[in-house]
Each structure stands twice: as C-alpha cells, then as structure tokens.
C-alpha cells in the first residue's frame, strides 16, 4: 500500500489488494466472451459415477491422441505414388522400387526421430478407439441409454463408429504396402461387383484402372481432412448433447428420472477426466513402445502381382472380410455381363449388419409404444429381449470375425479351413438365434434370483441347527438401499389389440402394422419374457415371518 501511485486509473484500487491473476484473466475473458454464465451453468454440472461411463472418455481421448500423432505424421509423409528407389537404412528394402508413400513411411519408421513410436501410437490408438467405441456403444445399448431423448445421440455415436471404420481403412491404406494394397484391391473388387455403375465408380475413384497413381493422394485427403473433420464435428455435437441431456444413471436410492446423483464437473471430474486422459495416453504409449503394429518394412511395397496369405484388414473391418471369405463364389452370366453375387451379396450384408444395431432404438420404441423420457438406466437383465437381441448381434458380428480370420484359426488350432468356413456359414444363421434364446433365459434366471434375494434375503453361508435337528441356512435380509435397487425397475405390459368393435358397436379397422406391432410387443413383454418382481405385499407377508426362514 505504501507504494500506491497517484495514477487516476488505480485510484479506486487503493486500500484494496489486486485481484489474483486467475480472476483477472477470467474477468478479462468474461468481458469479451461472456463465459461467466456458461461456466456457471456447466462447471457444477453433475455426472454420475460408474466405470462404464468412462468408456466414452476412452474413445474421446484416443481420438485426441490420434489427431495429435496424425498431425506429426503428416509432417513427414509424402502422399504420392511417384516411383522411387529406396536407399535408406533398412537393408532388406535397399534398392527396391516403391512409391513415395511407402518410402516416406519407411523413412518415418527408421529415420524420423520418434517416428516409429508415433506411427505405432497412431495405429494402436486407432484400434483402441474403434474397440472403445464398440464397447461404449454396447454399454449404451444394454443399459437402454439410447431411449428418448437420446436417440439422435445414439445415431451420432453410430455414425462416429462407421466413419471411424472408414477413416481407419483409408489410413492404413496410405503407406501403399502389400497388405493394405490387397485391402484396397478388395475394396475395388467390391465396388466392381455393383451392377451397372460399379466400373464407373471404380474408374472415378482410382482415376483409371486399378491401382493407378491417384488413390494414395485421394485417400490422404479423405483420411486427414474429410472424415476426421466430420468426426470432430460429430464428437462435439455428441458431447454437447451429453451435457444437454445430462448423463443417465443406474437406478438406486435417491436416483430418479428427474435428477442426477453424482459429483460436480468442477473440480471432481475435471481432475478425474484430466488424469484419465493421461492414463489413457500412458497405456497406449506403453503398448506402442512394447508391441509393433503394421510393420510395413516386413510387409513390403504394394505390387498388384504380389499377394500374401493372412491378408486381413484391421479388426473393425474384419467382419466384412469374413463375409467375403465364407460367401460361396456364385455368379450369374447373361448377355455377356456377369453379376458377381459372391461379392455383391456380402457388400449388401455389410451395411445391413451395421444398420441392424443402429435402427434398434427406433424399432424398440415403436414396438413398445414407449415415448417417455428415460434417464434411469435399465439393468440388462430387466430388459431380456433387448439384452438378448444385443447379445445375438454381437455373436453375429464375432462369427463373421472368426470367418475373417479363418486361416489363422485353421493354423493355430490345427483345424481345416474348410470346416471353419462351413461353421461360419451355418453359424451366421444359427448362432445369433441360439444366443438370443440363451441370453433371454439367463436374464430370466437373473430376474428370478433378484426376486428371490428381495423376498428371502442374501444367503449368509451360516448354517443353523434347529432344536429338532433340522439344518437351515440363515438368510440375511437386504438393506433398504439394496431392496430399492432391485425393485426400482418397471415391468411394462405388452400392447393389446384394441377390440374390433368399440363400446358403441362401431367397427374399427385395425391395420396390419398395428397387428404386427402388438405381436412384437407381446414378444417383448408378453408371457415368458419377464419374472414378476417382488411386490411390497409379498415382501410384507414373508418378512412378517410365519415360521419362515
């Protein structure tokens, strides 16, 4: 205070300490951006705690890591198919003719400081990003978090998964190595199988006959600009919607459809999420430092006259590989044209597999007629039909993945590749049905178990001998919280067909779609799809204890 100046501007500051730097910066920014109200509204945003809610964070962080490492890689990568001769340090490639793209990838791997590590982080993070999205999507699916009002966000997430697949595909095709070149050839074959326009699309995409000299620069633009740009926008929209809708939560005491119980974003989740980012980065970096991925130096440059066995795409494209591998090579020839069903049918099934899971939320809400908002999650067992459908879909997907790796299954388990192919052909139709039935039974069993637990308590493991010699196990009653959690879910009734003649004797038409809807709804919620949960009366009767244990 003794150093107070006579400056007119700071006159009113006399006698007061200067505000801390952070506050002044915040003031400065608020005066220009109006962030105060935004921050006030959102900094104390509550998020519920559950490990599975962090799967989306895994995706977000690996996406950021991919962008950061990808930027580094673009500094050294030459997206060109100009031919060059390799003179770098990797001996088995010296003197080889290869494209600039391949040579610069070798250069990144062997000459650029940290290049190989960054390449491996980029690629491992991509695999983990897609795997994370898959599991995140399944978490949302099995807990019913896709229900109103979150259907659009479900679609955003689904689009991110699909775009991630294609960003990955265009990305691993860039080095122009023999493995990815085979994958691009595969894609070209699939495009060619499209009737009438296939050849035109192929010529357009590759700038002439395959492989031409255009696809690497084109894939490069798609991979670094177009698809990530769209994805970034979708990620932002996805997160804005998460904040706007608020996060869903598992049922529990004090948790309703109208509140969110958890911790505030600031400071708890800021610390947690910030720390988690570094943990994700750490795990991915550790894996990238330990394990090699896509060693293009061992794979060699692409030449259309060469091919290797074991040529598979990255895992997220594996189910399309499976579709192609198990499809019989049917074709129809007429008037000098060929319809390559062996490729066309897989090409049609490919989006169908993905769409099956994407449209499910809309089918469910239509079938069940449930248009209410849901912010409380379902435990998977309490929605047996949905859970069974999801499990069946996953099994479908994994059967196809097995098909995509049929050769490795054959060599590593000493099986016949033909037997595996036939297993996948039959399993494609049979396994999902079996899994559907089995999962629904398991869900019902778990519901029965819940009911039993509510009514009779937890098995304590204590054996008591009664005076007349009988041994009984002591059951411990559940706490009030546990009772609530186990009985909080609602058990919807199936739709009923409105009577064809109303109370005034007027006939009314019931459409075929309505009939189908009621039928499906019965399949969802009708007899044999749920175990009635314990009611308060039943609980009262049993716990009042008339000679019961």
């Amino acid at each position: 205070m003794s150093t107070a100046t006579t400056d007119a501007y700071s006159a009113d500051a006399q006698g007061r300490r200067k505000a801390p730097a952070g506050e002044r910066v915040a003031d400065w920014a608020d005066g220009r951006l109006g962030i105060y109200s935004l921050a006030k509204a959102n900094m104390r945003k509550i998020f519920p705690d559950h490990w599975s809610f962090m799967l989306g964070e895994v995706c977000l962080y690996s996406f950021l890591i991919i962008i950061l490492t990808g930027v580094y890689l673009t500094l050294f990568f030459h997206p060109s198919m100009e031919e060059t001769v390799y003179h770098g340090p990797y001996v088995p490639m010296q003197g080889m003719r290869m494209s600039e793209a391949f040579a610069s990838t070798l250069n990144i791997s062997f000459d650029v400081r940290g290049g190989l590590l960054v390449r491996q982080i980029h690629h491992w993070a991509a695999l983990i990003f897609l795997a994370g999205m898959f599991v995140h999507m399944m978490r949302v699916f099995f807990t019913g978090a896709f229900r109103k009002p979150r259907e659009i966000n479900w679609l955003f997430g689904f689009l991110l998964f699909v775009l991630g697949m294609f960003t990955g595909f265009t990305g691993y095709s860039l080095p122009d190595d023999l493995l990815s070149g085979t994958g691009v050839r595969f894609m070209e074959g699939a495009i060619l199988s499209i009737p009438i326009i296939g050849t035109y699309i192929s010529m357009f995409l590759f700038g002439g006959e395959f492989p031409g000299s255009d696809f690497v620069p084109r894939f490069f633009s798609i991979h670094v600009l177009l698809l990530p740009g769209i994805m970034l926008g979708l990620v932002v929209a996805h997160m804005i919607l998460v904040i706007y809708h608020k996060h869903t939560q598992f049922p529990g005491p004090g948790r309703t459809n109208k509140n969110v119980v958890g911790m505030p974003l600031m400071p708890v989740y800021m610390a947690k999420a910030g720390g988690f980012f570094f943990l994700v980065f750490g795990v991915i970096a550790a894996i990238s430092a330990l394990a090699t991925i896509n060693p293009i130096w061992a794979i060699g440059p692409y030449r259309p006259d060469q091919v290797s066995t074991g040529a598979q795409p990255d895992w997220y494209m594996g189910f399309s590989e499976g579709l192609i591998r198990v499809m019989p090579g049917w074709e129809i020839n007429f008037w000098g044209h060929t319809l390559v069903l062996g490729v066309l049918i897989p090409l049609i099934i490919f989006p169908t597999v993905l769409a099956a899971i994407a449209v499910y939320p809309f089918i469910e809400s239509w079938v069940t007629g449930d248009k209410r908002e849901h912010h409380l999650l379902d435990r998977p067992r309490n929605a047996p039909t949905r859970t069974a459908f999801g499990a069946a879909w996953i099994s479908w997907y994994f059967v196809l993945l097995v098909g995509g790796g049929n050769d490795l299954w054959a060599t590593h388990f000493h099986l016949s590749i033909n037997a595996i192919t036939w297993f996948v052909r039959i399993g494609f139709f049979v396994v999902p049905v079996l899994v559907f039935v089995a999962t629904r039974r398991i869900c019902m069993g778990l519901q029965r178990r819940d009911r039993d637990k509510v009514l009779h308590g937890r098995e304590s493991g204590i054996i008591k001998r009664l005076p007349h010699g009988e041994f009984v196990e002591v059951h411990e009653p559940l706490s009030q919280e546990q009772l609530h959690t186990l009985t909080a879910h609602e058990q919807p009734e199936p739709l009923e067909l409105v009577p064809e003649v109303d109370e005034n004797g007027v006939e009314r038409k019931v459409g075929a779609t309505q009939k189908l809807r009621v039928k499906l709804s019965k399949g969802f919620y009708g007899e044999g799809t749920q175990i009635p949960k314990a009611t308060a009366e039943e609980f009262q009767e049993i716990t009042s204890g008339h000679g019961h244990h």
């Binding site: 599975s52 991925i293 060693p295």
Partner: protein
C-alpha cells in the same frame, strides 16, 4: 510336524503339494528315462551306403512306398525324386510318416545324418533326381537380401505369409512357418517341392535367386532377426494386432477406468 499339520488346510496347501509332486515326478523321470537312442555307426563305408540305405529303407519306408520305391496307394513313388528330396523329408522329420493325414508335419528327425545320406544314396540309385545341395549353394553369404524379399513376396508369400510365418491351405493342409529352418532344407524344398509345395527347379528359379530368398528369410525370420517396433505378435498381421488391442489395450484401459471410478471423492457432510 505340528506346524505342517496346522497348515495342511491352508488355501495354498494344495498348490504346494502339487508343485512338490510335479518336481518329484519330473526329477525321477529325468533320472531314469532311457537315454537317447544310440548313435548309429558313422563309419559305414561310402561304397556300402546304397546297400545300407536299402536296408534302412526296407525297415522304415517300404510299407508305404513299396519294396522297390515304386510307391503304393499309401505313398508316392520315389523313383527320380533324388537325394535332395530324401534329405529334406527325412532330415526335417517329416518322413517316416507318423500317421496318414492332411499333411506330414515337421517333427524330430529319427535318423541321423549318416543314415539319411545312406537312404538318399539308395533313393538316388533308383532314378536320376536333384542331389543334395552343397554349402556354397545354399549359404546366404553375399546374397542380395532385398532381391530375395521381392522374390519371396512374388513366389512364396501367397502361402507362407509376408515373412514366412506360415499360412493355411485347404482341408487342414498348411504352409509351415519358415522360422529358423535350416538353409539347406529351404533350398531342398524349393528344389523338390515337397507335399503341397510347387517345385522351383533351377530352370525356374536360379541358384542365385534361391540364395537370395534364403538370405531374406535369414534376415527377417530367424532367431537373430530384429523387430524394430517391439514385440512381433507372431508377425501374423492385423488379426493378432486386433486381439492384442482388445485384450491388452482396451482391457488395460477398462481396468484403469474401474480403478478411477472406484476412487471417488467423498461428499462433505455439512
């Protein structure tokens, strides 16, 4: 003793007993197992090699390949396959066959090199065929590794994978892994085309090209080859990478997520 008795119901007791029993059995086996079959006499006279080979052949091979090497329904004719084929098949343990199957797998050789040479001499005497290559034919020294890689990807990778890790063929047949295969055997395999493999005689692939391929395999797929990026994961490409990403990548991250979620802040009671 009392101490031991008190701990006999310890949860790890069974494990300890099991480990002890395993160690005892293993030790006893090592002590009493019969020693390896006695080495056959190396000094069989070269002039008698064919005669000796015929004897060995009658015992070990004739049941499938016929008494004169003419072949039966169980085994192909050996007339004209040459010494090289014998050296490969018997030297890698593929012959004599253990059992009929999709393909003869590599196993421990049951004849020593002297016996193999005798067998080879006998088979070579049945009809002209490729002879066993000499060391300077198959030695990878001074060969062009890059050229070998190109040749390998053009001619071999379809079945053996990019760097010779092996691959599946139809109906349980397979192209074996070429890791650490003796250069002589690689040369002989190319020369004679064993089992499902096509043959690459010198007219198709020159001696120099074979050397290049051997040198390439020696560089990228042997115990001394380097993997600059870390663990190779079998060198099998995206399938093993995907499995690794799911189990160790996402798996580890889920473990971390569970750990982070379990450590939540305590709400302050006010």
């Amino acid at each position: 003793m009392k101490k031991l008795s008190a701990r006999r119901r310890h949860p790890l007791a069974a494990v300890v007993v099991l480990l002890f029993a395993l160690a005892v059995t293993g030790g006893l086996y090592a002590a009493f197992a019969p020693a390896d079959t006695a080495k056959a006499d190396d000094t069989a006279a070269q002039s008698l090699a064919i005669e000796e080979g015929k004897k060995l052949y009658s015992v070990g091979c004739a049941s499938c390949h016929g008494t004169g090497g003419q072949g039966t329904t169980d085994g192909p004719s050996l007339v004209g396959v040459g010494a090289s084929a014998v050296d490969f098949q018997v030297g890698t343990g593929r012959m004599p066959l253990q059992q009929q199957g999709a393909q003869a797998p590599k196993k421990k050789a049951i004849y020593d090199q002297a016996e193999i040479d005798q067998l080879a001499a006998y088979i070579a005497s049945l009809g002209a065929g490729p002879s066993v290559p000499s060391k300077d034919q198959y030695s990878p020294d001074g060969a062009d590794i890059a050229k070998g890689g190109e040749l390998f990807r053009t001619n071999c990778a379809q079945c053996h994978n990019f760097t010779g890790k092996g691959g599946a063929l139809s109906n349980g047949k397979f192209a074996p892994s070429l890791e650490d295969v003796n250069p002589k055997h690689i040369y002989e395999a190319m020369q004679t085309g064993p089992q499902n493999m096509p043959s690459f005689p010198d007219t198709t692939m020159s001696e120099k090209n074979k050397k290049d391929i051997i040198a390439y395999l020696d560089t990228v797929n042997s115990s001394k080859s380097q993997s600059p990026g870390g663990l190779e994961l079998g060198g099998l490409g995206p399938v093993s990478e995907g499995l690794f990403a799911w189990i160790f990548g996402l798996g580890a991250l889920i473990v971390v997520a569970i750990w982070v979620a379990a450590r939540t802040a305590k709400a302050k009671k006010s």
